[in-house]
Amino acid sequence: MTDSDNNSAHNVGFFITCLADLFRPQVGFAAVRLIEQCGCHVSVPQQSCCGQPAYNNGDDSKTRVLAKNLIDKFEQFDYMVAPSGSCAAMVKVHYPKLLKDDPNWSGRAQNLADRTYELSQFLVDVMRVKLPLKLKLKPAQFVDDKKITYHDSCSGLRELGIRSQPRKLLNQRAGISMDEMDNSEICCGFGGTFCVKYPEISTRLVDNKISGIDRIEADIVLGGDLGCLMNIAGRLTRCGKQTQVFHFAEWLLDEQPETGIAGTKPKT
């Protein structure tokens, strides 16, 4: 393990979150790199899920077990950071409510909640990285003629107030300028298990999202929550569209990512 030279460096427990862990590990490595560039030391304890699927389906007792597991693994760190608004919000907003009547856990839940952040929030609001960021970024090579837009995931936007942070970061990436969709803040229809419980409604909502993407003729859609991004990407490819979808962290690396979620290649 590479210990940071700085003794006062913050210890960050990195919560990869299920979907990034299983489907898009490069999001995790990009996120870790960004956090390390702020002078933090990053650890990844063995972990599973924050319990969001059980919580949103109303199964509080199962959620409590998972919440306690997670608190146990992460409370030792100065901060917990996750590359997902909904998973970070689960810990930050919902854990304290979930465990408020448990005298052994309510304090611990609140304590971790206070130190939990979504990635862009952590970089911009907590680390207050000086803008422009010292990210050692190479100028983007092939973005000059690409239209890039951002989808605001609901949990991050409304539960954590994340809107400007990822945009600020992306604006530091030379060559990236953002075009805004008129429906960037409207739900894409993912909604966790909602998308498989009510697939027809979910499909309509993601089609509405894609109409917004099409209206500005975006080539690339970025966002901060893999659930939404997989939903949007999966519908885009099914409709035969070439628009690529990425997690925003992938676009803050030195090298530009090539293959988007669901295997899309850059438009030629």
Binding site: G58, D59, C154, T264
Partner: protein, 473 residues
């Protein structure tokens, strides 16, 4: 009204396929959202008003008995009558008795969702009374034999063409032989037809947006003035209102009126705002001879004692509907009862039974947009989730759903197993995908019917991290 919420799945699917409904909803909802945004931005301290609205409602609900009694005393003092109804049936019985004592035949009605809840029209019609809805939207859906699909815009699902055809079908026997197609002509025709009814009605029934305890006033807010004509012209005015409509005084009314118009239609104030205070007094030129207020509980007292009490703050502005991605795509009828959208998805299960309406709180992405626009800050997503908690505790879900959740949980609660098993799954999926995605996967049809399923990378992040970490040390 018959509860059809259990058919939500099929009804919402059908609604999604209805192109007329879609274009009607697109037009209307887009308008509501934009006008609200503009009206809210113009009031610098709108957020303070929201907090005020929340606090005044919470205070009133905490002392509901006190304020209702005060309201009753004031109404009686001004010569009116107050009737208490435990449920819709009792409310209808009270109304029937009043109508029968007045030898009524024709009854005009202002818009009232509470009367929809009590199914008052049907009870009156069953007894042979002629009932005419006078709000234009309500009038349209009455002609169509439908129920409201929005709490403030009941005919929002109807296109102009629908209305042209309906009017032609029903008004030609009244001498209106030409089809009216322009909005102005449509409104004019409705006005002419309704004018006769206003003048010949024996009883007028309206709802109330607010009941002011301190003055005994019933406040009715409309844009068409139909509420005023319904209330003032017949000899008998009956107000039907649910008990949580009471607010302390005229000062608080000022706050709520600022919130209501802006949240509902994006108006600074609705066109007509009238305070009704009892029957005609000796020197009044007009007004009803009798003034009745029917206060309906219908489960509110129980809700007040429950985890759902915040929902009683609702002032029925409809902003949560207009901002709900699900409502704005399926319309109101799919919800299967009186109140649709986020407010309906919380309220309907409480009023008709949680298992009957179990789809409603589940058919929500918990995106939270409704909560951000609610003028009285009702935590709608939390209340929707609370229903889900109750449903799990009741064991209401299907075995397939319980089994699915159990499988996932068994894995997720054991991080070691989770890591091992997900590694294997990810490796298999990565090797079997074509071009980084799946068009089909076993058991994943709800997803793959309309969307490709993105394939995972060869290894999980935790697996790769561990390998790197091992190399470094």
């Amino acid at each position: 009204m018959k509860v059809l919420s259990q058919n939500f799945k099929s009804a919402s699917k059908a609604a999604l396929l209805n192109d007329d409904l879609r274009s009607a909803l697109d037009r209307a909802e887009g308008g509501f959202v934009n006008t609200r945004k503009k009206a809210v931005a113009e009031l610098r301290n709108f957020e303070d008003y929201r907090t005020y609205g929340q606090q005044v409602k919470d205070h009133t609900l905490k002392h509901l008995g006190y304020y209702l009694t005060q309201f009753e005393n004031k109404v009686v003092k001004s010569g009116g009558h107050v009737h208490w109804a435990g449920n819709g049936e009792q409310a209808n019985k009270i109304i029937l008795d009043i109508c029968s004592a007045a030898n009524a035949r024709k009854i005009t009605k202002g818009k009232s969702m509470v009367s929809e809840e009590a199914a008052t029209n049907k009870s009156l019609q069953d007894q042979g009374y002629e009932v005419i809805e006078t709000d234009l939207g309500e009038y349209i859906i009455q002609l169509a034999g439908e129920s409201p699909s929005h709490i403030i815009a009941p005919a929002v699902h109807k296109s102009k063409q629908n209305v042209t055809d309906l009017f032609h079908q029903h008004h030609s026997r009244l001498g209106f032989l030409e089809k009216v197609t322009e909005p102005e002509d449509i409104v004019n025709q409705a006005r002419q037809v309704l004018r006769d009814h206003f003048c010949s009605a024996d009883v007028g029934i309206t709802g109330a947006n607010f009941l002011v305890a301190d003055t005994g006033s019933a406040v009715i807010v409309t844009n068409e003035g139909n509420g005023d004509l319904t209330a003032s012209l017949p000899g008998v005015h009956i107000i039907i209102a649910s008990i949580e409509k009471v607010i302390p005084d005229l000062v608080s009314l000022g706050g709520f009126l600022r919130l209501l118009g802006r949240s509902a239609t994006g108006q600074i104030m609705s066109v007509y705002t009238t305070l009704f205070n009892g029957p005609k007094r000796k020197d009044d030129l007009d007004g009803p001879d009798q003034f009745h207020v029917v206060l309906l509980d219908n489960g509110r007292t129980e809700i007040l004692k429950s985890k759902y009490q915040d929902i009683l703050r609702c002032i029925r502005c409809g902003a949560c509907l207009n901002h709900c991605p699900v409502y704005t795509n399926i319309g109101g009828h799919a919800y299967g009862w009186v109140y649709p959208g986020p407010i309906g998805s919380v309220l309907t299960p409480l009023l008709v039974g949680q298992t009957k309406a179990m789809h409603l709180p589940n058919a929500c992405t918990l995106n939270g947009r409704c909560q951000t626009v609610c003028p009285v800050k009702i935590p709608l997503p939390s209340l929707l989730r609370q229903h889900r908690v109750d449903l799990v505790q009741m064991g209401a879900h299907s075995w397939a759903q319980k089994f699915g959740l159990w499988c996932w949980y068994s894995l997720a609660s054991r991080p070691k197993w989770y890591n091992q098993i997900t590694r294997i799954l990810v490796a298999i999926l990565a090797r079997t995908a074509t071009r980084g995605r799946f068009r089909w996967l076993p058991l994943a049809r709800p997803w793959t019917a309309t969307r490709d399923f993105p394939a995972p990378a060869q290894s999980t992040f935790q697996q790769l991290w561990k390998a790197q970490h091992r190399r470094k040390t």
